[in-house]
């Protein structure tokens, strides 16, 4: 039987490597063991179900393609995140969307953002070199960073610069000359239009290499000289010691603890340099395989000791709440509206504010978003008709005919997390519970009143400062 420490740790792992889990799931996984669960998340057995997208398109075909409209794409992604039993795949897709931030604000063709997300879903746990090459050839990315305007006689540096600055090395590890030479090597990596599937449909794009646009001349990049093309450039980037550290810091910021915003990384050292080094080492020694670095991270002490050191992202808030309460399971017609909820809290899927991705940590919080966050969770956890909440109520009630206010608070904190709160917060929660006296569960009326009090308590817990952290 897992002890309470195992339970606390498993809830932490599931908040980070997934979108949180119900108490039943936490206990089931804890019984299996921590490292075994890490393994299952990283390398899911074939029989663990993903969200069934055929089912979604059968019942809600409008989520399949949006053209310029980003709403169907967000609904589709939300469906995947809420319904998958392989949550780390979705979390990694979201991670790479953070890093290789591509926005429909410019792409204006959300189908391609959805295809990009699908690519991250399939290859996000694979090899980073392979992923960089896929991103370099990804039509949405090519259009987003103007590589279709990168010509032999008129190089455009946008992609070349962001590849170095935001996708691999970080500021300070290359010169302006390197940016230019990098851009030259990617000339001719462009997009061509595909014939639309129906008359008057939008033209899709596909990657196309145009030799006549490519600069075959000699280039000097990061100290090496040769007739490089884009693939050579990526191989040279991977030889730089800055590269594994940069990606490790991104992983650390996303999964372990909030770091300063990316532009500050060239001046502010990481909060845990040793952690970054150990992750970078795991990355390099496996030839940039992503699974070994995740395995090293999740099994490390620095990860296990990092509880509540991250402000939940809006996607964490929304998906976590839906999974906890069992709301919006399967192909639900409310998906299109719910897909916009993270946007109302400041995280518009497929539309990051810039190529730098979202600003994380405390920047998720403003006076508008804090109201949205709290209400979104409180609306659902106080609804005792939702299956997840009903099961929390049942477990809080247990076999007891009566219960003290203090026990109500502690059991609710257990079942919604477990989460830890400060003594001050616990005192407030307890004195709130005391206002209505002890709880009774014996008769139907008592059970009903006490259920409602559990819902209120869960809503109040959702409103605590502590609940804003993962």
């Amino acid at each position: 039987m897992p002890d309470s420490k195992d339970i606390v740790l498993m809830a932490h792992l599931m908040r980070r490597a997934g979108f949180g889990a119900t108490r039943d799931e936490v206990e089931r996984r804890a019984a299996k063991g921590y490292e075994e669960t890490v393994e299952e998340l990283i390398d899911p057995p074939d029989d663990v179900p993903r969200a069934d997208h055929h089912l979604l398109f059968r019942f809600i075909p409008s989520t399949e393609t949006g053209g310029p409209n980003p709403i169907p794409g967000a609904a589709q992604w939300l469906y995947h995140m809420v319904n998958t039993q392989c949550p780390l795949e979705e979390k990694m897709a979201l991670f790479w969307h953070h890093v290789f931030a591509t926005g429909n604000s410019k792409v204006d063709n959300d189908n391609h953002l959805t295809m990009q997300t699908q690519m991250f879903r399939e290859h996000g746990l694979g090899n980073y070199r392979d992923l960089l090459l896929r991103v370099a050839r990804n039509p949405a990315m090519i259009f987003w960073l103007d590589n279709n305007e990168n010509h032999k006689r008129a190089p455009n540096e946008n992609w070349g610069r962001e590849l170095l600055e935001l996708f691999s090395l970080g500021v300070g590890h290359y010169t302006e000359k390197d940016v230019f030479e990098c851009a030259r090597a990617f000339t001719g990596w462009t997009i061509a239009a595909k014939i639309p599937r129906a008359p008057l449909h939008r033209f899709n794009w596909r990657f196309e290499f145009r030799p006549e646009e490519h600069d075959y001349g000699q280039k000097t990049f990061l100290g090496r000289t040769g007739n490089f093309d884009g693939e050579d450039i990526i191989d040279i980037i991977l030889e730089q010691p800055a590269c594994p550290r940069f990606i490790a810091r991104h992983l650390y910021n996303f999964f372990v603890a909030d770091e300063p915003q990316v532009p500050a990384w060239s001046v502010e050292p990481p909060r845990d340099p040793e952690a970054i080094e150990s992750m970078a080492e795991a990355f390099v020694s496996s030839g940039y395989e992503i699974k070994p670095v995740l395995r090293a991270m999740f099994n490390s002490d620095f990860f296990k000791e990092s509880m509540y050191r991250k402000v939940k992202s809006p996607v964490d808030v929304v998906v976590g709440t839906l999974r906890l309460t069992g709301d919006l399971q399967g192909p639900d017609p409310r998906l299109a509206a719910a897909g916009q909820e993270p946007a109302y809290m400041g995280q518009s899927l497929h539309d990051p504010p810039s190529v730098e991705g979202w600003h994380t940590g405390r920047e998720w919080i403003n006076s508008g978003s804090v109201v949205k966050r709290i209400n979104f969770v409180a609306d659902r956890v106080s609804d005792v008709e939702l299956p997840g909440v009903r099961s929390i109520v049942e477990r809080v009630a247990g076999e007891d005919a009566a219960m003290t206010p203090g026990a109500l608070v502690d059991r609710c904190l257990e079942m919604i997390g477990p989460i830890e709160v400060s003594n001050d917060t616990r005192k407030e929660l307890v004195s709130h519970a005391e206002d209505e006296g002890p709880l009774a569960w014996a008769t139907d009326d008592e059970y009903k009143t006490s259920s409602r009090r559990v819902g209120d308590m869960l809503a109040l817990i959702a409103a605590t400062t502590e609940y804003q952290f993962a």
Partner: protein, 382 residues
């Protein structure tokens, strides 16, 4: 104009989706207009004429009445060079005043920071709508954002008033106690308290409001009614934001465009009637914009994304009439088939910021731009 004791207030109404400038302010004597608008051209006789060249769309009657009172300023040819013709990118540019890079601070967020530098009033800026428009977002600046005033607040799913109030008392205690326990907790605690204080202030205002004006039952009328409620409650809000749409009329434009302008015009007229009834109109300017105008030539059913557009400033303090030049409509004068902007939008913002809100526009809009003069006086003594 007399000197007022109330500070100037700005109400921004965003026409989302790209409002068709040429069918809003119609050059009804221009043969190029009728040559290009073979399907969507508005018949000369239906145009609500304001002079011998221009007139409003037939469904803009209520706006025309305000215009005739001298309270509507139309600013022509507004936009910026090299319009990307993408909704989202263009909207970003309008919101952040950054056409070349991706900006992170909204122009109204900066204005709110300057109006209330110590963040004393959490409702200095109020957005009516879902989410927060980027125009109002600046890290550390508190702005209230509500989809619907009647249901706004924290923990609104707890229906019973007394229970909810008790929970909110706990909330205040918990967030107050969080302050002083670490930088992120400090910030979170303060932001939570600001949000609740803002909600309380707005709720109080709601309780005091009554009006003889009956607004229509559509989203923009509801938004402007919420703004009127908050404004007349005198809670210190200086910048309001709302939006209506979608003006993205690629196909079957005529019926949807007619409906949109019926709604917008009606809501605007009701809003000003309401403010006048409460003697609360003379410190308000309303500002309408859209992310771009639409293609000069219609596509046989609708219009595609264009460039230059028109902005409107409405209120007793504006210099009514036409400002600037209607862009040239000759086919050879167009760029990619679109009207070429002759007035940078940042210049229009600068007029609002300096002449109305009494702020230094340069750091807000990132530079100096030619400013049209459409504000009569903000009543602030020089």
């Amino acid at each position: 104009m007399t000197t007022r004791d109330k500070p100037p207030v700005l109400v921004v109404l965003q026409l989302t989706g790209g409002n068709d400038y040429m069918n809003t302010v119609i050059p009804y004597t221009d043969p190029n207009y009728y040559d290009s608008r073979t399907t969507l051209g508005i018949d000369q006789d239906s145009v609500l004429r304001v002079d011998d060249e221009l007139g409003f769309h037939p469904n803009m009657g209520p706006v025309k009445e305000i215009y005739d009172r001298g309270d509507v300023a139309v600013v022509h040819g507004v936009g910026y060079a090299n319009s990307p013709r993408s909704h989202f990118r263009s909207m970003d540019i309008w919101h952040t005043c950054e056409p070349d890079i991706i900006g992170t601070e909204g122009w109204l967020g900066r204005a709110i920071r300057d109006l209330d530098p110590d963040g004393e009033n959490p409702v200095t800026g109020v957005n009516i709508g879902q989410g927060m428009p980027r125009a109002m977002l600046v890290p550390g600046v508190s702005v209230a954002s509500l989809a619907d005033l009647s249901t706004y607040g924290l923990l609104t799913s707890i229906e019973q008033r007394e229970r909810r109030d008790k929970m909110l008392t706990r909330f205040v205690n918990m967030y107050g106690q969080a302050i002083g326990t670490g930088p992120v907790q400090d910030y979170l605690g303060q932001t939570g308290l600001d949000a609740l204080k803002g909600a309380d202030i707005l709720k109080d205002g709601l309780g005091r409001y009554s009006s003889g004006v009956e607004y229509a039952d559509d989203p923009i009328a509801k938004s402007l009614r919420d703004i009127a409620m908050i404004h007349t409650a005198d809670v210190g809000t200086r910048v309001f934001y709302c939006q209506h749409g979608s003006f993205d009329t690629h196909a079957a434009q005529a019926p949807s465009f007619d409906k949109l302008w019926t709604e917008v015009s009606g809501a605007i007229a009701d809003f000003w009637d309401d403010l006048r009834e409460h003697d609360a109109d003379d410190n308000v300017v309303m500002f309408l914009f859209s992310e771009f105008g639409r293609r000069v030539r219609d596509n046989g059913s609708g219009t595609d994304h264009g460039a230059a557009g028109a902005c409107f400033a409405i209120g007793p303090s504006v210099k009514g009439g036409m400002h600037g030049e209607y862009p040239e409509t000759r086919p050879e004068a167009l760029e990619q088939g679109d009207l070429v902007p002759n007035q940078d939008f940042r210049g229009v913002y600068s007029t609002i910021l300096e002449d109305w809100l009494d702020l230094d526009p340069v750091p807000i809009v990132n530079g100096h731009f030619e400013r049209p003069s459409f504000i009569e006086s903000n009543g602030v003594p020089a």
